[in-house]
Assembly symmetry: C2
Homo-oligomer: 235 residues x 2
């Protein structure tokens, strides 16, 4: 599969065409942004790490029955994926209170939720990705009823696989963002799952091992990404 | 039923005890607030109008099978109600895009929704009543599964009664806020339904006939409330 023209450059990835319109190549960059792009920076080797972590996780999820866009890893920073029509709804799964949920509900970070919470956000930079509910998704035609219900079901199934996967590696899966897309009528897990899109805390020290280190200027950002990669990929 | 001690003073109403703890007296004030209390004012005779409009609507809803807290109107500004344990979740029903939904989704006010949207807000002044979803309601114990599902069902049933009721009076029911409360195991419609809690537009001119006239300094606030009262109560 040959890498064709650049179709889109996002905050963390570039999407390239291939010679088959059913497939795309994703290229993982080192660029890091936070707070809606207000904060910009670079995390050295982030693209390499995220591609490796995400491919490992997507492969593991596929082995556990989750349909994903992953075809195969092509190089350190490149992955071949199915060309899905991305649903403009980010699906967030939360196991522990942190980030915007802590602020929204006035609760301290770290409180365990009695069951996983699923939230939907409208993917729209101009509107700063507002939180929406299932009614908004349907009324504004962001997804069909079957799609949003399947996305929720898949998200909860993914959570039941990912939580023990990370726990085995002494990592608490606090919360994370998933994206789904349609590929010839089938809903596939798309985008990436990595320290950019998850909150991951060390199970012993509760130290943050994810993009919050960059967002909150906690230092040792690269070291955290490398350590997540080591625990996820070496085991 | 004798009016006892003042139990609580809210932004628009005062709650009094009675000699039977199963009952409360609500007293409707003329105080008007907006934007989380940042804007304060008075709408002359608002308390009288809102009590009259709300009693008319609650009576009509009860005749149509909606369980409500209303026992009976006691005076111009006072109503006797069942002492419900208010669910700390505001239920908003929307038929037309306006207000925070227009902002959230980047759409113009006035667009008709393909079907009514239901939103939940956590009643908490300090947190500025954040929007939440069903998962938050359950995970934070704000209501039981049966309660929140019944609240949604009642809200949609109320909407199917209220929309034609207002349409018959040449008023478009744009959106509105409902509150529910538990009374000995039964979920009752509580609080009030009036120009403070609804967006109401004249069906011909599309002129606002509700608290947005106060919020947005549109003038003729009292006139709008009186006109709503006339159309709701005289027919």
């Amino acid at each position: 599969m040959t890498r064709g023209e650049q179709l889109y450059e996002g905050k963390a990835k570039i999407i390239y065409a291939t010679d088959d319109d059913d497939y795309r190549i994703l290229y993982f960059k080192d660029d890091a942004t936070a707070f809606d792009g207000a904060k910009k920076g670079t995390i050295v080797a982030k693209g390499i790490i995220n591609n490796q972590v995400s491919c490992r996780i997507f492969t593991m999820l596929a082995e556990n029955g989750i349909p994903t866009h992953l075809v195969k890893k092509l190089s350190e920073r490149e992955v071949l994926v199915k060309n899905v029509a991305i649903m403009p709804v980010e699906v967030v799964v939360r196991n522990i209170i942190a980030g915007s949920l802590a602020k929204r509900m006035g609760r301290p970070e770290g409180e365990k939720l009695p069951f996983p919470i699923v939230e939907y956000y409208y993917k729209n930079d101009d509107l700063h990705d507002p939180m929406i509910n299932r009614d908004h998704v349907l009324a504004f035609g962001l997804a069909s009823e079957a799609q949003i219900d399947q996305a929720r079901e898949l998200a909860l199934k993914i959570n039941s696989i990912l939580q023990p996967f990370f726990a085995d590696r002494d990592i608490i899966l606090v919360d994370y963002k998933l994206e789904f897309g349609d590929f010839h009528g089938q809903l596939l897990l798309a985008d990436e799952i990595c320290p950019d899109t998850c909150r991951l805390w060390d199970a012993e020290s509760l130290e943050k091992m994810d993009k919050d280190r960059f967002r909150r200027d906690l230092g040792k950002v690269e070291e955290a990404y490398v350590e997540v990669c080591r625990r996820v990929c070496d085991q």
